[in-house]
């Protein structure tokens, strides 16, 4: 998929662990793993909003389009 999730990059920038973000956003570790590994088929606006709020960033910082 040409959409890349840069969640791990943002987590490293904010010095936050995966467990921490999962707890703060209120999603399971399994779902965070799906997101991090690029296996996700879709992301809800509510999830994106919560992630952006916790990481204090824009959706564009997490999602990136790269042509194949």
């Amino acid at each position: 998929m040409p959409i890349i999730i840069n969640l791990d990059v943002m987590l490293a920038k904010r010095k936050m662990s995966v467990t921490e973000i999962a707890e703060k956003v209120g999603i399971t570790m399994a779902n965070i793993s799906i997101l991090k590994n690029g296996k996700a088929k879709a992301i809800r606006f509510s999830t994106l909003e919560a992630i952006c709020k916790e990481l204090d960033c824009q959706p564009g910082d997490i999602l990136e389009y790269r042509s194949e």
């Binding site: 999603i27 779902n31 965070i32 799906i34 997101l35 296996k39 996700a40 088929k41 879709a42 992301i43 809800r44 999830t47």
Partner: protein, 198 residues
């Protein structure tokens, strides 16, 4: 999670599914009984062919029957597709036996796959890959039933009778199974997509 558990309980208590499963089990028991009865007749015919001298066989296979003369009216014997069992060549009897056996076994397998689908629906695992495979298998079995039941070969006396009789209802069922498999495949795709939505 609680909602899903409640839904599972509702589906487990679903009476329609329960009775469908009971019907499937009864059908399987009936089919197994038929296989045993058929095998019993063939074995007994081999041991004592004389006792079947008055019995008659009528085809084609789709409407195939072996009956006792006590329950058969004399006028029915005029049918050109009716043969006395005593006239039948042994290999012809074996072919008919194998044909009937194959059909019954295939129907048992069809019912078995259908049972798997019902069980999955009861567990609220409707749109899963295994159900897609079940419907594809059902369609495959139905195709074989159509092929196996499409011809009749009877060798009686010095003559042989070969005829084709296509059961198109089996083909329609096969087509319906393939369509259901495709619907379930699409459902499975949507389910997986939903599972991978974060």
């Amino acid at each position: 999670m609680f909602v899903k558990k409640t839904y599972v309980n509702i589906m487990e208590r679903n009476k329609l599914l329960f009775w469908a499963m009971v019907c499937c089990r009864l059908m399987q028991a009936f089919q197994v009984g038929l296989i045993l009865l058929l095998t019993y007749y063939v074995v007994q015919w081999q041991l004592d062919p004389a006792s079947y001298d008055d019995w008659k066989f009528s085809g084609p296979l789709g409407k195939l029957s072996i009956s006792n003369p006590i329950h058969t009216a004399a006028s029915e014997m005029d049918d050109t597709r009716t043969f006395m069992v005593s006239q039948l060549q042994p290999f012809s009897v074996y072919i008919i036996y194998i044909q009937m056996l194959a059909q019954l076994v295939l129907w048992i397998l069809v019912v078995q796959e259908f049972l798997k689908v019902i069980k999955a629906v009861k567990l609220v695992q409707t749109f899963r890959e295994q159900n897609v495979r079940s419907f594809q298998k059902i369609a495959g079995y139905l195709l074989w039933i159509f092929i196996v039941s499409s011809f009749t070969f009877v060798a009686a006396g010095n003559t042989g009778h070969f005829s084709f009789d296509f059961s198109f209802s089996t083909l329609v069922l096969m087509l319906a199974s393939y369509i259901l498999a495709e619907i379930f495949k699409e459902g499975n795709r949507l389910y997986e997509e939903e599972q991978l939505t974060v």
